[in-house]
């Protein structure tokens, strides 16, 4: 594979600002942190926005601490640290950047959704935010669909093409309610991706409308 290519499709500056400010729900933030792992350019933007946060802390009016605040912290300095270790990555999971691997855990529960498409739900879907890993077979086309709310998707392995372009590893697609598309997975490698949405997808077209009844997309 050699030197990894830089992603071509990025997050907008306002999304990066919101990430730096801590405003995204966890699954969206995980997707963004995954892109940042693979994209030095967006990482530089986030570093700049986080520096704004540093200035905000510096500029904040100092508030009086509780009596004994410092001593309380000092008393805990020698406490053993809770260990945080990621499960060892093998196979497909080794394609997941660390923030995503931490969210996914050791064994995603893959389910066959339709011919050529497997999905694994990630997380508890709280606050109406739905996250899933998707595995699309080489050359396989997904039903044409549109998005009820906001959807973000990042390619982790392989790639896909749609009306907008060709998406490779690290590329992010952000779709709103106005986008209807029909992605086709890379003919040789297929596509492994992570998608987060805050509303149900709607399939369009005659077959799609029927599938809507059966598939909790």
């Amino acid at each position: 594979m050699g030197v990894p290519d830089m992603p071509q499709f990025h997050l907008s500056e306002d999304d990066l600002l919101d990430y730096a400010a801590g405003r995204f729900a966890q699954p969206f933030a995980v997707l963004i942190a995954s892109h940042l792992t693979l994209c030095p350019a967006c990482r530089r933007s986030v570093a700049r926005f986080e520096a704004l946060g540093g200035l905000a802390v510096e500029a904040a009016p100092p508030a009086e601490l509780d009596p004994g605040s410092f001593e309380a912290v000092v008393a805990r300095l020698d406490e053993p640290e809770p260990a945080q270790t990621l499960p060892p990555a093998t196979g497909e999971l080794s394609r997941l950047p660390a923030p995503l691997r931490a969210l996914v855990g050791a064994a995603p529960a893959w389910k066959k959704i339709m011919r050529g498409l497997d999905e694994a739900e990630i997380g508890d879907g709280r606050a109406g935010v739905r996250a899933r890993l998707m595995r699309i077979a080489p050359g396989c086309a997904m039903p044409r669909h549109t998005h009820g709310g906001r959807e973000m998707l990042i390619v982790l392995d392989g790639g896909y093409s749609d009306e907008i372009g060709t998406y490779d590893i690290g590329d992010v697609a952000v779709a709103g309610a106005d986008v209807v598309h029909r992605p086709v997975a890379d003919a040789r490698e297929g596509c492994l991706c992570f998608a987060v949405s805050d509303a149900r997808l709607k399939l369009t077209g005659p077959i799609g409308r029927v599938l809507n009844l059966f598939i909790r997309y």
């Binding site: 500056e13 801590g22 570093a47 946060g53 200035l55």
Partner: protein, 193 residues
Amino acid sequence: MDTASSPATTEARQLALWLGRVAELRDRAAFAQLFGHFAPRLKGYLIRLGCEPGVAEELVQDVMLTVWRRADSFDAAQAGAATWIYTIARNRRIDRLRSERYPTIDPTDPLLVPDEAENADQGIETAEREHSLRSAIKRLPKEQAELLHMAFFEDRPHGAIAAATKLPLGTVKSRIRLALARLRKELGPDGSA
């Protein structure tokens, strides 16, 4: 207009040195200095973002303990001490508010794509970069600086800013975008102006 050796820059260098001493030498005196500087500011910052004082106090203690434990992951070439501590406070606050972990990149991730531009950037000190950022914000048009302030320093969502300024939401968003574009232009590609 302050220069690169302004008091703020000198202070930023000192804070980074103390953090380095905590990481390398487990220096408790240096930690006490960091605590004295950051803990009251962090508490003020968290209260301004809407935390109850009791919760802010707990978070501050938690953040400072994390500073002690994670000091070795502070990289003075990447960020200033205040910026690094800001990210810890941001993450802790979200963990507490939503009981979920706010994800950040792992610098040791084997998938991490290294930054080629970083080598070209090495001559520029973090303290100087942050100095440039401070002065770039001062040069922003007042309304843009104010919007950025509300969006970031006070953590008001765009909708709340629109209500406070009586501007349509679309206008708020596009002005924040303008402010960001202006900052980017002021700072240049490597953030050093």
